[in-house]
Symmetry: C2
Subunit: 343 residues, 2 copies
Amino acid sequence: MSVPQVGHLDPYFIGLMDEIQELLRYSFQTDNQLTVPISGTGSAGMEACIANLVEPGDRVVVGCNGYFGGRLAEMASRYGGEVESLTKPWGEVFALDELAGALAEHRPAILGLIHAETSTGARQPLDGVADLCRQHGCLLLVDTVTSLGGLPVRVDEWGIDAAYSGTQKCLSCPPGLGPVTFGARAAAKLEARRSRVTSWYLDLSLLLAYWGGGQRTYHHTAPISMNYGLREALRLVAEEGLEERWRRHRDSAEALWSGLGEMGLECHVAAEHRLPSLTTIRVPEGVDPGGVVKTLLAEDRIEIGGGLGELAGKVWRVGLMGYNSRRENVDRLLAALRRILGR
Amino acid sequence: MSVPQVGHLDPYFIGLMDEIQELLRYSFQTDNQLTVPISGTGSAGMEACIANLVEPGDRVVVGCNGYFGGRLAEMASRYGGEVESLTKPWGEVFALDELAGALAEHRPAILGLIHAETSTGARQPLDGVADLCRQHGCLLLVDTVTSLGGLPVRVDEWGIDAAYSGTQKCLSCPPGLGPVTFGARAAAKLEARRSRVTSWYLDLSLLLAYWGGGQRTYHHTAPISMNYGLREALRLVAEEGLEERWRRHRDSAEALWSGLGEMGLECHVAAEHRLPSLTTIRVPEGVDPGGVVKTLLAEDRIEIGGGLGELAGKVWRVGLMGYNSRRENVDRLLAALRRILGR
């Protein structure tokens, strides 16, 4: 990211854009032509999907089992969607028959699910969900902010119609871009829109005239350095290979879970639905959760998160993402927790 | 920008945010509390102003004498504004009595003007405009993308209610953030909104809970590296001093204009309305404008722009912004043009 700038229409940069798109397709496991990084953080990627897919009056069913489901629902509502929020206690996931029931009842245009809920550490299973959506003529929109590059995300094989992510989680790039990918059914909805996309900055049809095709029509000045960073991060993903990267995330998460168990600490999410990239640890009785976070930062230079929303004060959140997902970091954290908690 | 990342709620980063806000206020010459960098490029700054200030049905008068006036009008219309576009040939500016006539006729809620039209090289005079707006009870929104840090922008003294900019022009930072500032009257309109801001990502009331006040409530993950870059760019602006920086931009622009004159090349904009940061040169009869742009890039490693819109094929656009606005660059360009054009 400290490499000198070039113009956003410089032939060198155009070549770099092509590389980024190819590498993003690999990370998303998709052939979708419409695969681009939005010039904002992961939440801008989320908003780009909503702004383009939701038309006023569209019914949108959103799985709300954590903070980011709530954000997705809020955005869909702001863009004129008639939102039906499916709720679940934070840390649980939706079963296929629950989703089937919701689609049958609400007949939405879009189903939005959070694959990896950063606020809870839960992984939403997606087996069979795309088939359900096709049966009900609805699009499947999936949040992969904390899964892309850290655990399997197979956009084409799973039939995901649109997905978004951020750069600073398992892709291990600084925050600043929001990768999105749209399949044929989502692209068809874009083309059939009756109204303009309210957001000009996030309007994918305008963005595509710059990112896709031969014309490279100016839209906004691309954040050059951020794209340099993303290109290098994605290159490292490809160099390691997705399968190997997923295995590494899984291995270090399992080492963490096992070490926590030995200390008598409990994970909040059931083992089969845990994210390897983010673990929620239940705060033991009588322990001040904020105090532990502060001590870890001040004495051990380790940053972990507190609980959000329903889980505020009840859990700690430990990220093992991208470059950081390695055994030595797990061991360091476990040792620090043992010392601080006296376990 | 290659300094290691910290978390977006890390105490170190919170301190850096405070510094950025203070330095941005200096650059904008304002005491506005609501002065923040939007996490997107300059166009995201533009959209943040429109998304927050325009409510459906608001009448918005936009001065359209170039490409970016058109973009502002388009955004205002997408957010539900009833837009009246004042048009002028590209390269000209609006006289005070023309603006007075438009405000009297249309009674808008917002007047949007482009202080520095990057597509034409024209500087819109703002003397007396804020008084006019107050007489008509309307807000004055000003695009300072190509002026901030390069020529006088005095938000408080001039009575500008809201302004936005980009980082990659006269601030000499890589692209990726969109500084905005809102005065008391603009903030009052935000508070009195009858409807939610459609864009969640750009909703200033949410952004302020993170950037302002004591709570630092999480909104989106700030692009850490970009903020490092902006902080350093603004520090360099303060180190040089605005008056000195404006003088430097003026000096190198005058050297360019004079050199062009000696070559028999003509500036498109009248001398009194020329931007020091961006000069449009009329393409002489019989010269292929695109060919000159390509030769400059390939042989001289100098990037200049072609004409946009009304001026496509008719002008070249030469930026002398921030670090690049210096005599040696002017001399290099003039020598290259002399060689290529055989003058």
